[in-house]
Amino acid sequence: MTKDEIKNIIIKTILEIAPDIEEDEIEENENIQRSLEIDSFDFLKILTAMNEELGVEVPEADYSKVDTLENMADYFIQGL
């Protein structure tokens, strides 16, 4: 799976959990929670959904490594 494909899955997941967000609001290097107003609860849901999709779990201690779209995609690529 390419990084772009992973990014598309992340974007799809964000839009599923926070349907108020427009796709063009999601910036590559912006903090996902802050820029999109995703709270901790929704962020956990996004990571759970990603785990179901890709089989990669993000432990709580690694949350700072998945803070942006870019970083999250990198994290999942390494985990695959």
Partner: protein, 583 residues
């Protein structure tokens, strides 16, 4: 002695606690004695801003760090008490020049930026009233609060202005100015740049005579049957802030204090701004959101000694299988307090094991302005209990009788309404423009909190639940009525019933049951649309996280949706009395 209790030994403390003998302190306490810890205004009266900043800036604490701000991306700014005095004076002058009169309300809607903290004190200096909003509210809750609070000025950021204020601006004709904290230039006569105004303002400001009973802060709290209510606080509340800073947070001059709450909520103002500064203590503010590694690094790097946080965060720390005291040097930390919702016993014990410090739970509300019941650093903790009433605070478990009177339940371990005797300084003075609702909170000389609890043989209080339908999610109150009203605005929605569904992480999550109008069919697509609709209008802090369609919602014969029944069914509990249920 129960084996689960956590006993304290006074000899173990690095710093001698301010309160050692609870019974003695409780007996001999007087509010007048607390006045010794406060100065009063040189021009007469009492003003929180003077007690928090100016008096320290005029003392040997002038060059001590008052605010240590940690930015999301690693920036770090420090403000001494002397600098805070000047900056807050500038903002008071800005408001004065704009013609904002005593008692007029200034709303804040901002992330945790230094300018927000400066503004709050500046607002109080100019004798205006601070009205904090949570930055994750959507346009609808913002509008409801600003209308009810008669907003004259709003402080916010460019992003929040564009996203949340422009859509409601035409409904706020009384709003005179919007000050953008991150804008370099004025946009027009109404939308102004905070920094441009500050550049032109003098850094000298004399606080005018302020009465202890003058309004200081207006917080909004959720209602169960109506829209949010404006909770009026006065400058005299600072007595409670001083008392609780002394006994609960056990503040000493050398402490480095960190309260993780956002100033959009009462903990974030009473304890994230006012209390540490009243005690002349260095206050840490972190702009970032919860992140376990970041938080441990702050505790370690800034040598935090007193930490006030919340169960939601503690439960997330508990998810990590680690030994924090081996990975981080947390040796400066000497006290952890928690508030927002009851702290489960496992969390108290986890603290003892993993952080080498038990976590102290305490209880209070927006209406009480400050902590009322608490576990204390020097006292035995009974995990799961909120602790005992603080000196100066008389609490009881009462039963409301049918004739409108109340009876105090003296028998231990018997559930009833948790109530507080009126007369303590930080008790709210009104629900703004809602006298009848205010009056309903009092019977005789008791303020009835709306929480159910019991008291054990030794005077420890234990939380049981809410007496009404208010939802507590991530430590914040959400009123079901407010959520239902917004959902009803969607063309597909015929009825909405909103409850708090128990959740391991955030306590309760907001769940909406919806019946659809004729012509609409339940589908995943419609569910998604409604979730999005809720989030757009209400914001992530209030909007439902879950939606379930039902053909008909359970109602009373008079047509009122029975949230209690929805909740019982959701939780698989007995349905209780259903005699009023419509056929």
């Amino acid at each position: 002695m129960n084996e689960k209790w956590i006993e304290k030994n006074v000899d173990d403390f690095i710093v001698e606690p301010n309160l050692i003998d609870y019974d003695k302190e409780y007996q001999r306490f007087s509010w007048d004695d607390m006045a010794c810890g406060l100065d009063g205004l040189p021009s007469g009266g009492l003003n929180i801003a003077h007690e928090a900043i100016d008096r320290h800036a005029n003392s040997k604490l002038a060059d001590k760090t008052a605010l240590l701000w940690l930015g999301q991306n690693g920036e770090r700014k420090t403000y001494t008490f002397a600098k805070m005095k000047k900056e807050t004076a500038k903002f008071a002058n800005v408001l004065k020049k704009l013609g904002i009169s005593k008692g007029e309300r200034v709303f804040t809607l901002s992330p945790r930026l230094p300018e927000l903290y400066i503004s709050v004190i500046g607002i109080l200096k100019n004798q205006n009233v601070v009205c904090p909003l949570f930055s994750q509210f959507g346009p609808e809750p913002i509008l409801q609060r600003m209308q009810r609070g008669d907003a004259k000025v709003l402080l916010t950021t460019k992003r929040l202005y564009k996203k949340k204020i422009i859509p409601i601006l035409d409904k706020l004709p009384e709003l005179r100015f919007i000050l953008l904290l991150d804008s370099d230039e004025h946009e027009n006569e109404k939308v102004l740049s905070f920094s441009s105004l500050m550049d032109e303002a003098s850094d000298i400001f004399e606080i005018l005579h302020t009465e202890a009973e003058d309004m200081s802060i207006l917080h909004f709290t959720s209602g169960t049957t109506g829209m949010p209510k404006g909770v009026v606080h006065v400058h005299k509340a600072v007595y409670t802030h001083y008392m609780t800073g002394k006994y609960v947070l056990d503040l000493h001059p050398d402490d480095i204090y960190w309260c993780t709450a956002d100033p959009g909520w009462v903990t974030g103002t009473s304890y994230g701004i006012i209390t540490p500064w009243i005690h002349g203590v260095t206050n840490i503010v972190d702009e970032g959101e919860f992140d376990a590694v970041r938080w441990y690094k702050i505790l370690q790097g800034e040598k935090v000694s007193v930490w006030y946080t919340a169960p939601t965060a503690i439960r997330r720390l508990m998810r990590i299988d680690s030994e924090p005291t081996k990975e981080y040097d947390l040796s400066s930390l000497r006290l952890i307090q928690s508030v927002g919702e009851p702290l489960n016993p496992e969390a108290v014990i986890w603290g003892e094991k993993k952080l080498k410090l038990p976590i102290h739970d305490n209880w209070w509300q927006t209406e009480t302005g400050g902590i009322m019941i608490s576990n204390l650093i020097s006292q035995t903790i009974r995990p799961g209990s909120m602790g005992r009433p603080l000196p100066g605070i008389e609490t009881g478990i009462i039963r409301q009788n049918e004739d409108g009177t109340v009876t105090e339940i003296t028998e231990p371990n018997k559930e009833g309404d948790l109530a507080i005797k009126v007369g303590f300084p930080s008790l709210f003075r009104a629900y703004l423009h809602a006298q009848e609702k205010y009056d309903k909170c009092f019977v005789g000389d008791w303020y009835i909190s709306g929480d159910l609890a019991y008291k054990d043989e030794d005077g420890y209080f234990w939380f049981v639940g809410r007496a009404d339908d208010i939802i507590k999610t991530s430590g914040h109150m959400v009123g079901p009525f407010e959520v239902e009203s917004t959902l009803m605005e969607h063309p597909a929605v015929a009825e909405a019933g909103v409850i708090g569904k128990p959740d391991e992480m955030i306590g309760q999550l907001v769940k909406a049951f919806i019946s659809l109008k004729a012509g609409y069919e339940p589908s995943d697509e419609l569910k998604r649309e409604l979730i999005g609709f809720g989030r757009k209008k209400l914001g992530v802090a209030v909007a439902p996280k879950e939606i379930e369609f039902q053909d008909n919602l359970p109602k009373t014969r008079s047509g009122k949706i029975m949230r209690r029944l929805l909740k019982a069914r959701e939780m698989g509990l007995p349905e209780g009395d259903t005699s009023t249920l419509e056929d």
